[in-house]
């Protein structure tokens, strides 16, 4: 019974972690202020 409880806690923790991480997601950022280019960028 204790073993089952330990395994269930582990599983629940994994689910909680995954759901939290996917819910937070990646930061979206803002539209870049850089323009659409109409000149040829120079060679570096």
């Amino acid at each position: 019974m204790r073993a089952l409880t330990a395994a269930a806690i582990g599983l629940a923790a994994a689910l909680a972690l995954i759901f939290t991480v996917t819910a937070i997601g990646a930061p979206e950022g803002r539209t870049s202020p850089e323009p659409l280019l109409t000149t040829v960028p120079a060679h570096p």
Partner: protein, 350 residues
């Protein structure tokens, strides 16, 4: 067999056994945690976390050296040392949010511009685009504002980028000049700068296409050219070397041909090359694209391979450790002098 001295071992082994039991249960819990995390990471988290950021900004420079360009003064084609195509993709975050609210999907809106410059840097053509697509699957999303050079379009297939975990198969690829999609064929696996990539090729046969809204000569409008009965035709073979993990092209080339045909500008059914050249990515942009793709590739591999397999192995190890501790606990339990079954043996010892 080693025996515990009477009067001390029985009391000392009890807390040790309890600790082993607890440790075994903790390890079992951790084993369940990491083993469950493995498929969850690959099949639940990855499809939700892997997406194109809506704010991405990327510029690309391609060159045709040499190239053929139309001289509008003489209406004759001439060879020039180079023609440069500057392609910019700019993620429009506000528009992406607007489309997301309507569609209920994670969406990316790319405002793109293909600016073609002659050897003097002056504009040869300038085609703006708005491309709206699903941030995870790369499927096109249809929304107001989707266009090529001001003409509303309804895309199918992909454009600019392949989906994450690209497959070895043909895809439908949108051609901005013809405003239609056609298959881009998987032609095999290649090695490009040490990276294993999938090579794709698409050929668009000679097709009548709209004149660009912005013409390279002042005073000439597409409407005026159309009135004269002259039409624009285009054919291309485009090639992409695609990193299959991220779906990002690391190299691209195009055998591009454009012609003006007939009408008063070219009487007698004549035709003239407007632009022709073998367009290739500029070396510095190949390098920067490779560096970007390699860093993103590691992130995708972390979610699809490194972490899931690592967690699975760790889970198995922890389970083995837990079982080992449990077995040791039971073994010492069977030797425990405090237990009635073995007590006689211990008390009857030397």
């Amino acid at each position: 067999m080693r025996r515990t001295p009477p009067g001390t071992g029985a009391h000392a082994s009890k807390p040790r056994r309890g600790m082993r039991r607890t440790a075994s249960l903790v390890l079992l819990g951790l084993a369940a945690f990491f083993t469950a995390l493995s498929p969850l990471m690959r099949w639940y988290a990855f499809p939700r976390l892997a997406k194109i950021p809506p704010s991405q900004y990327q510029a690309m420079v391609l060159e045709a050296r040499p190239a053929t360009l139309l001289d509008y003064g003489t209406m004759k084609a001439r060879q020039v040392p180079e023609v440069t195509i500057v392609q910019t993709l700019k993620g429009n975050v506000a528009e992406a949010h607007r489309v997301e609210r309507a569609s209920g999907r994670d969406v990316v809106v790319w405002d793109a511009l293909s600016f073609v410059a002659g050897p003097d840097g002056k504009m040869v053509s300038e085609i703006p685009e708005r491309y709206v697509f699903d941030a995870h699957s790369q499927e096109p999303v249809h929304a107001a504002g989707e266009m090529v050079d001001g003409d509303p379009v309804r895309r199918s297939g992909i454009e600019y980028k392949w989906p994450f975990l690209t497959e070895k198969r043909d895809y439908a690829y949108f051609d901005a000049q013809t405003r239609t999609s056609a298959p881009i064929h998987y032609k095999g696996t290649r090695t490009f700068h040490g990276l294993e990539v999938y090579y794709f090729e698409q050929t668009i046969p000679w097709t009548k296409v709209p004149l660009p809204k912005k013409m390279p000569v002042k005073g000439i409008t597409p409407e005026a050219v159309q009135k004269m009965g002259t039409t624009r035709w285009y054919s291309t073979t485009r090639m992409f070397w695609v990193d299959p993990v991220t779906g990002a092209p690391v190299n691209g080339e195009e055998l591009h041909k454009e012609e003006l045909r007939g009408g008063q500008l070219l009487p007698g059914g004549g035709k003239v090359t407007a632009f022709a050249g073998h367009v290739k990515m500029r070396a510095d942009y190949v390098d920067s694209t490779l560096a970007l793709v390699k860093s993103q590739r590691t992130l995708v591999l972390l979610l699809t391979s490194y972490l899931p397999w690592g967690f699975l192995a760790l889970g198995a190890l922890l389970l083995a450790a837990s079982l080992h501790l449990e077995a040791r606990g039971r073994h010492s339990h069977s030797e425990d002098p405090a237990q009635p079954a073995v007590e006689g043996v211990v008390s009857g010892g030397p």
